[in-house]
Structure formats: structure tokens, C-alpha cells
Symmetry: C2
Subunit: 117 residues, 2 copies
């Protein structure tokens, strides 16, 4: 089997950095394809293809406006990723606490930070 399609879900779609840039750009305000091309300095077909992927997974929506197509990010489609990553939050907090406690313990012991370990 090969890798899952980029259109499988948000996780696969945003693995591509350009698509993340597009999402960040379009969440602020909707824009026509030409502007995305200009701002991000990508080729037009490339942008259209990325937008197609993002559309397929529901991360962006389009609406016509004369000859233009205005794309905008659908922020809600990013929530599942946010929530998944959030399940690890308490653990990296613990990690920080451990590091902090360790540093304080060392200082209390009178020695400087252990640069070797």
C-alpha cells in the first residue's frame, strides 16, 4: 500500500506546508486564486491543485464573484487536529514540571546545572 491520499482527512491535507500557508492566509479573509498566487509566490496550477485538496477535505470553501472564485478557510475543519494534539497537553506540562523540579533540586544541592547529563 502507498500512503493514504492527501484528501483522506485534514491530517493528510495539512502535511503539505504550502497548504498550511494557504489556510493561514485564507482564514483572515477570503481571496481569489490570483491573490494567493501573488502573495505566496506559487504557480497558479499549483495553487489550484492545493485548493482542490483542501476543498475535498472541507478545509476551504469557494464562492463565485464575477470571474473570480473567492476561497476562504473553514476553521472548524481544523478543530479535530487541535483536539487531538490537545490530548497531549497535560503530558508536556508534566515534562516541563519535571525539568523545572530537576533544575531546582540541583540548585538546592548547591551545584550548577548538570551539563553532562
Amino acid at each position: 500500500m502507498a500512503r493514504a491520499a492527501t484528501t483522506t482527512d485534514a491530517f493528510n491535507a495539512v502535511a503539505e506546508p504550502r497548504r498550511r500557508e494557504i489556510l493561514s492566509l485564507l482564514v483572515v479573509q477570503e481571496r481569489p486564486v490570483g491573490e494567493i498566487v501573488a502573495v505566496l509566490r506559487l504557480d497558479q496550477p499549483s495553487v489550484s491543485k492545493h485548493l482542490r485538496v483542501l476543498r475535498d477535505v472541507g478545509l476551504v470553501r469557494v464562492r463565485r464573484k464575477g470571474r473570480h472564485k473567492l476561497y476562504r478557510t473553514v476553521p472548524d475543519a481544523i478543530r479535530p487536529m487541535h483536539e487531538w494534539t490537545a490530548t497531549f497537553e497535560r503530558y508536556w506540562r508534566h515534562q516541563l514540571h519535571r525539568v523545572k523540579e530537576r533544575a531546582e533540586a540541583l540548585e538546592a544541592a548547591g551545584s550548577g546545572p548538570d551539563l553532562k547529563a
Copy 2:
């Protein structure tokens, strides 16, 4: 060009659902490969290969324990993803507010929810 390697960054690594399962499992407590195989019901070589990818991007760490190798998630390596998704939080909040306001406006107008639009 093909897709970026899965070992490019955390975004690419966690695009694979099995790797997400492995991370969720190993963040609670470290485990030997055999247990991951048993709990997630995957083939051993498959698990080893996924662990290799996760290791390459710093999402897990290993330590030897006799004949076993104990893997554990490095939660801090997930923070960049959490932070990226968090930049969209205010926008989906706005989205919810708009939906809520719209619903309340309709109710105040005396009509039920607009099922057509």
C-alpha cells in the same frame, strides 16, 4: 516531486493514523514493541517501521531494558502542531458566535429555524 518524506516533520509523521494511535498509547506509559503489537494488533515489522519514523522526527524516544526496547512519546514534539492549529481557534469561535447569533435572531423574529438556507 513526490510528497515530502514522512520523516520531514511531525505533520507528515502523524498523517498516518496508526502512528497517531502509537503516540496516544505511548504517551501514557512507555512500552516494549511487543506490547504495541499486541495492543494495536499490527504486525511487528509494521510497528518497528512506524516507530522508526516517529523516532526520526523526535516524536518518540527509546531506552533499552534487557532484551526489550521501551518506547515512549515525547509530548513536547507535538506542541508545534498544537500551536499551529491554535492560531485558528479564534476563527472557529467567531464562526460559532455567528451561528448562535443567527439562530437567536431568527427566534426573536418569531419564525423557526430556517431549514432551507
